[in-house]
């Protein structure tokens, strides 16, 4: 058996190589953060199934791959045509190839004056104080190896900052594409700061240009300012050989509204972490998720909603459609602190199993320390309803189509919650296609 130490050696050596290439920059704030994170990652090592948070998700396959150096995987000669199929129109696309911002492929015409939307690497140069005030504030890595690893390898990602009372009407799309022919390791790091009463819809999409092994280990930090209204959508449809770990950290200030819609279609092993801290009164937090998995895919969604203040509401709906030998994991933690009276939290997890060999492990975890709260949770696991299938067939609809219609309706419930039209339309066809592929296996 390979020990934890051996598995992390490659990352340490890559870290040292990057460190050397930094020259003078290696002494700054950022690099101090990276070094602490690298040390922490070395101590923690990759989690195993003995770790409570990873009980059902065995990531050992991804720890055995030798990736190419992040320094080697560059973005040469890509054109818009290469990536157009992943884009959502031409406005406000920030494109990242193998984790690095591709300014030539990015468009930001619809971004209003005063709003910063670009690369984190640039922001570190132009607005270092603003970045450092927030970077790593909510994405704590003490107990989280993947966040530590991401932090150690912070190079680039998206940086968005919206001033008070500013609405960004056109959604901002962040496109993360991996291209390298060999196994690639990327660590996108995104920081999104939104001012008081601002409005923003942001979409993260992860895709691969070829069927190759990649490890995408992304971290996104969002600060939702007082009264801000933020929608964050994520679409993961990388190749079926991809490993994907993404951690979203949201800090919500007073009276803010935050919605996350996370759709996972691709990847061999995918782990999504969403943590929201409701850190002011009157916040509303909605977390929705949809996984569609076929073959031997494993899709794991872990959510944490931390009700730190009174009078906040959270709604959570995670759905999974599992075919073949696919495996789903859902773990939903809701934390209601002592002072968080009048909390209203609702969590629902629904799984549709299309095959006998598909499995789901689902676990709600409610930890409630306040007494005047309303918290509910429920989980259902089932197959398509025979009576519904029969009703459709009895009107002339063929059995396959009846099953398709019902399966898509199950997924559509989440797709409809996405307010970004461009994404919603693509989701409809992507989910259809994914379900078709699953059936033809």
């Amino acid at each position: 058996m390979i020990s934890t130490g051996e598995k992390t050696v490659w990352y340490q050596s890559q870290f040292e190589m990057i460190e050397k290439s930094l020259n003078g920059e290696a002494s700054g704030n950022l690099h101090t953060l990276r070094k602490v994170a690298m040390d922490r990652f070395n101590e923690l090592g990759f989690p195993t199934t003995r770790d409570e948070e990873w009980r059902f998700t065995n990531i050992s396959p991804l720890t055995k791959i030798s990736f190419e150096s992040p320094l080697a995987s560059r973005q040469d000669g890509m054109t818009w045509e290469d990536i157009e199929r992943f884009a959502f129109g031409t406005e406000n696309n920030l494109v990242f190839i193998n984790g690095r911002f591709a300014s030539g492929l990015s468009k930001s015409e619809g971004i209003p004056q005063g709003v910063i939307a670009g690369s984190l690497a640039t922001a570190l140069k132009l607005n270092p104080e603003l970045v450092h005030r927030h970077l790593g504030r909510s994405a704590k890595f003490e107990d989280n190896a993947f966040v530590a690893l991401n932090t150690a390898f912070i190079q680039d990602g998206a940086f968005i900052s919206i001033p008070d009372e500013q609405s960004v009407n056109d959604p901002i799309y962040l496109l993360f594409i991996t291209t390298a022919p060999g196994p690639t390791f990327v660590s996108p790091r995104n920081l999104i700061l939104t001012g008081r009463k601002s409005r923003l819809s942001i979409v993260e999409r992860y895709a691969s240009l070829a069927e190759h092994q990649t490890l995408t280990n992304a971290v996104t930090e969002i600060v939702a300012g007082e009264g801000a209204q933020i929608e964050h959508d994520k679409l993961q449809d990388e190749s079926l050989s991809a490993f994907h770990v993404a951690s979203l950290f949201v800090t919500q200030q007073r009276s803010s509204t935050f919605t996350s819609n996370s759709v996972t279609l691709g990847g061999a092993i995918v782990r999504n972490n969403v943590s929201a801290v409701l850190d002011g009164e009157g916040c509303e937090c909605t977390l929705n998720g949809l996984s569609v998995a076929t073959g031997t895919q494993l899709i794991d969604n872990h959510t944490l909603i931390d009700h730190a203040r009174p009078h906040c509401a959270s709604h959570e709906l995670y759905k999974a459609i599992l075919d073949g030998k696919a495996k789903g994991v859902f773990n939903g933690k809701i934390f209601v602190r002592k002072d968080a009276q009048k909390t209203d939290a609702k969590q629902t997890n629904k799984t549709l199993l299309l095959a006998d060999d598909a499995t789901i492990d689902t676990k709600p975890q409610l930890e409630i320390f306040a007494d005047d709260v309303k918290c509910t949770h429920g989980a259902t696991v089932g197959q398509l309803d025979d009576e519904q299938v029969f009703y459709l067939r009895s009107r002339g609809i063929g059995e396959m189509m009846a099953r398709d219609i019902l399966t898509f309706a199950f997924a559509g419930d989440i797709v409809e919650r996405v307010h970004v039209e461009g994404l919603k339309h693509q989701l409809e066809s992507l989910v259809h296609r994914k379900l078709d592929e699953g059936r033809n296996h």
Binding site: D386, Q388, Y391, L392, R393, S394, R395, G396, I397, E399
Partner: protein, 255 residues
């Protein structure tokens, strides 16, 4: 059009239909009445192809073909329609989407062109008037949150769009208010033609004032205990089912 011969069916070894025979010709209206639990819905579901019920004995011919060998969708495409006693809710699927898929599947089977969105909408608008259905119900998910009466009206609306040859209406009248009953019955009558047939399952004679049956059958304990003309329904209304049971048992003993 339809010939049921000595049909026995049940579920998990539990016998429900115990030898039903019935012949329905084109242009006829048949009513099936009978006490709760006597097997009326089972008969209707078996005819539509619900495979949870196992057929142990007997056969069913539809237009000369063995109906029991056809999957439910093929029966529908060949013109069999069941209005469910308990219409099923389909969350996430709009009524129009569902109907369009159904209609086009049937048209395709008949070798007809599929209707495009505009043609379909025209047809639907026209049929909606027939049962005076509220347009909002078109765009809502199938039956989800519909009131009892709305569900029943929706079943007849589906029938109006799909234009079946053999319509089996399982207690479509229960749950309808007095006006709705008349409207729905009028709608059904307008769909009656020489070349199609209707089987109505009902508990109430009132419906039969509107949809006048040529034959009334009484199903008791999985058998047709008595058949007659429309006046039989009036007798049942007045006297209940006991006398038929007594009469039926007597003839059974004699035989």
């Amino acid at each position: 059009m339809l010939e049921i011969r000595n049909l026995h069916a049940g579920i998990n070894g539990n016998k429900i239909l115990k030898g039903v025979s019935l012949k329905v010709n084109a242009g006829e209206v048949h009513a099936i009445m009978g006490p709760n639990g006597s097997g009326k819905s089972t008969l209707a579901q078996v005819l539509a192809g619900r495979d949870t019920y196992k057929i142990t004995v007997g056969e069913v011919l539809y237009q000369g073909r063995n109906l029991m060998e056809m999957p439910p969708e093929e029966r529908a495409r060949e013109g069999v329609f069941l209005a469910f006693q308990y219409p099923v809710e389909i969350p996430g699927v709009s009524n129009t989407y569902f109907l369009k898929a159904a209609l086009n599947a049937i048209r395709k089977h008949k070798g007809l062109e599929e209707l495009d969105a505009v043609e379909f909408l025209q047809l639907v608008r026209n049929r909606m008037k027939l049962v005076e259905m509220d347009e909002t119900l078109l765009h809502r998910p199938v039956n989800e949150g519909f009131s009892g009466g709305e569900k029943k009206r929706n079943e007849i609306f589906h029938m109006a769009v799909l234009e079946p040859k053999l319509a089996i209406l399982d207690e479509t009248d229960s749950g309808l208010d007095i006006d709705a009953l008349r409207i729905v019955a009028d709608g059904v009558n307008k769909l009656c033609r020489k070349d199609n047939a209707i089987v109505v399952v009902t508990h109430y004679q009132r419906l039969l004032n509107y949809i006048v049956p040529d034959f009334v059958h009484v199903l008791i304990d999985g058998r047709i205990a008595k058949s007659g003309g429309k006046d039989l329904a009036l007798d049942l209304e007045e006297k209940g089912y006991d006398w038929i049971k007594v009469e039926y048992e007597k003839t059974a003993e004699l035989a």
